[in-house]
């Protein structure tokens, strides 16, 4: 039995439910794995944790992995399973504040938390959609104040992950039909989202464990897709003060918009589309100045993906 400490990207919210489904439904055990899930504090939090070898595996943002490997050439970390095929990065506005189209943000105030992943993709988004950034007033703000500021109309739109922002806004009493969401992936941004990453030293020593993990996790996602409420319930037993309905909604939004995309339904989850992947690296060059020439092969490998069809959704 191999023990795997898994570094999550974020807290125990809806999209984390599949891990707990995989644990509680015995998928990891079936692969001979003993998995423990640790909460994290952002999409890039898990990368150094895995690179140092303290966590053999984790969950992190593709772009951040590219940047990390550029800054720290040779660090033993790489992505092995794409999960957020269509990243939820979005610009979210309110129709009542005059944001019905992307262009409407010109001349208005856009709220953006500086360390936000969605904000870092904004230049590409603006370029692809022909936004004139010189006409947009950007207001830096903190995560906890992002939705309240939009709810109070202090900003016309914000950047963020679509499901977080939408859910938080409805909690603050904004009508759902007042909210306008512009997912960047739908507007020319080819970036991939969060992926399962491994420590390459660990992977070389335990290739079956990694493959087994991927297989089990995919089963967890399938369980979560069929019985989302059950999966969330399994997660909530670990964070007692959580709200089942809210987290279920969050999980469903992630499933629908981010994980179970048309491409995934057609090709199964876990892998990347080579052409799109290449484009995404090109786009990354626009927002990040590489120290060395980018080496996309080092950022993602499909070598550990199971080939027994366990990744396909019907």
């Amino acid at each position: 039995e191999t023990a795997i400490n898994f570094a999550l990207d974020w807290k125990f919210e809806g999209p984390a439910a599949p891990y707990f489904a995989a644990i509680d439904n015995g998928h990891f055990a079936a692969e001979g794995l003993k998995v423990e899930i640790q909460a994290g504090q952002g999409s890039l939090d898990a990368i150094p944790k895995v690179a140092t070898g303290a966590f053999p595996m984790g969950f992190a943002d593709m772009n951040s992995i590219a940047k990390f490997l550029d800054q720290n050439p040779g660090a033993p970390v790489t992505a092995v399973m794409m999960v957020y095929d269509k990243p939820p990065a979005a610009m979210v506005g309110r129709k009542s504040l005059g944001i019905s189209e992307i262009k409407d943000i010109e001349g208005k105030v856009l709220g953006a938390p500086p360390p936000d992943g969605a904000w870092s993709q904004f230049p590409v988004f603006a370029k692809e959609t022909g936004l004139d950034m010189s006409k947009v007033t950007v207001e830096p703000l903190g995560f906890p104040t992002r939705e309240p500021m939009l709810a109070e109309g202090k900003v016309a739109a914000v950047t963020g992950f679509s499901f977080s922002v939408v859910l938080n806004l409805t909690r603050l009493g904004v009508a759902e039909d007042d909210i306008s969401v512009f997912t960047m992936a739908d507007h020319g941004v080819d970036y991939y989202g969060n992926a399962v990453i491994v420590n390459t030293d660990f992977a070389k020593a335990n290739p079956e464990a990694v493959t087994g993990f991927i297989r089990a996790l995919a089963k967890g996602w399938k369980d979560a897709a069929t019985e989302p409420e059950k999966a969330v319930g399994q997660m909530i037993s670990r964070t007692p003060a959580s709200d089942v309905a809210l987290e279920t909604r969050r999980l469903q939004m992630a499933l629908e918009g981010t994980v179970l995309t048309d491409w995934v339904k057609a090709n199964g989850m876990g892998n990347v589309d080579p052409a799109r992947y290449a484009r995404s690296i090109e786009q990354l060059k626009e927002i990040y100045e590489f120290k060395n020439a980018p080496t996309p092969d080092l950022y993602f490998t499909d070598a550990y993906l199971p080939t027994d069809g366990s990744l396909t959704f019907e």
Partner: protein
């Protein structure tokens, strides 16, 4: 009766503050996500009462252990700086600089170096944030020890160690407890910092976090209250210890 007379002013003050707060929230018509009123908090306390006890205990024991380590290390460091002027000159600015680094930035680094060892990490932060005042006060206490005090024993041929145990240590106790009153609050803050910045699902900080995730604002405010309460309890526990071990230094009684 005597106890009542002593407890009345703070209790009345707290009641007044709560009343003002309730009024302010009502008057401004603030929604709970902006600022919960005290009356919003009771349901949160009641609903999560077992969690409050459990998480409170988690926070408490890590704080106390961290503080314990800080006491031992701070006292040793304070002795080194108190007995050697050179060490004092050399280490003081270093400690000031270390102390000025916001521990919120240190938390991720620590969490990275000692990955997964949550208890250890939390205790380490509680320790790192709280040993400074103890070291400083012990060193000041020792370095300002009047030579006459030392001479009483020196003249009898007592060893340095005896002098430390019989004179220097007890003489420094009032300063030590003064610092401990500061340190206990700091250690408590350190524990919570770890629980909030590097969540590991334990302690009141985690409860705060889960309130945040669920946009359960009354719960968040309720946790702040619980923290304040626990902080007061810890503080007055140190005051009690001070009364017992350094009560002789309290002039107001005599």
């Amino acid at each position: 009766m005597e106890f009542l007379r002593k407890a009345a002013p703070p209790l009345i003050a707290i009641a007044l503050i709560l009343a003002f707060w309730e009024w302010l929230v009502w008057f401004k018509g603030w929604p709970t996500y902006k600022m919960a009123a005290p009356s919003d908090l009771w349901p949160a306390f009641w609903k999560y009462r077992t969690l409050f006890v459990k998480m409170g205990w988690e926070t408490l024991w890590r704080t106390v252990v961290g503080l314990g380590v800080a006491v031992v290390f701070g006292t040793l460091l304070g002795m080194i700086m108190g007995f050697s002027r050179l060490m004092r000159d050399a280490l003081y600015p270093v400690l000031v600089g270390f102390n000025a680094i916001p521990k919120a930035t240190v938390v991720p680094v620590i969490a990275l170096i000692f990955i997964g060892q949550h208890d250890f990490n939390t205790i380490l932060i509680a320790f790192m944030i709280s040993f400074f005042p103890i070291a400083v006060s012990v060193s000041i206490g020792l370095s300002t020890l009047e030579p006459e005090y030392r001479d009483i024993l020196r003249a009898l041929g007592a060893s340095r160690l005896t002098i430390f145990w019989k004179i220097a240590l007890p003489k420094t106790l009032p300063e030590f407890f003064g610092a401990l009153k500061v340190a206990v609050t700091l250690a408590f803050i350190g524990t919570n910092l770890m629980e909030i910045v590097e969540p590991h699902g334990r302690g009141l900080g985690a409860l705060f976090d889960s309130g945040k995730i669920n946009a359960d604002y009354p719960l968040m405010f309720a946790v702040l209250f619980a923290l304040a309460f626990l902080g007061i309890v810890l503080f007055y526990f140190v005051v009690l210890l001070e009364r017992i071990f350094a009560g002789w230094a309290d002039r107001s009684a005599s």
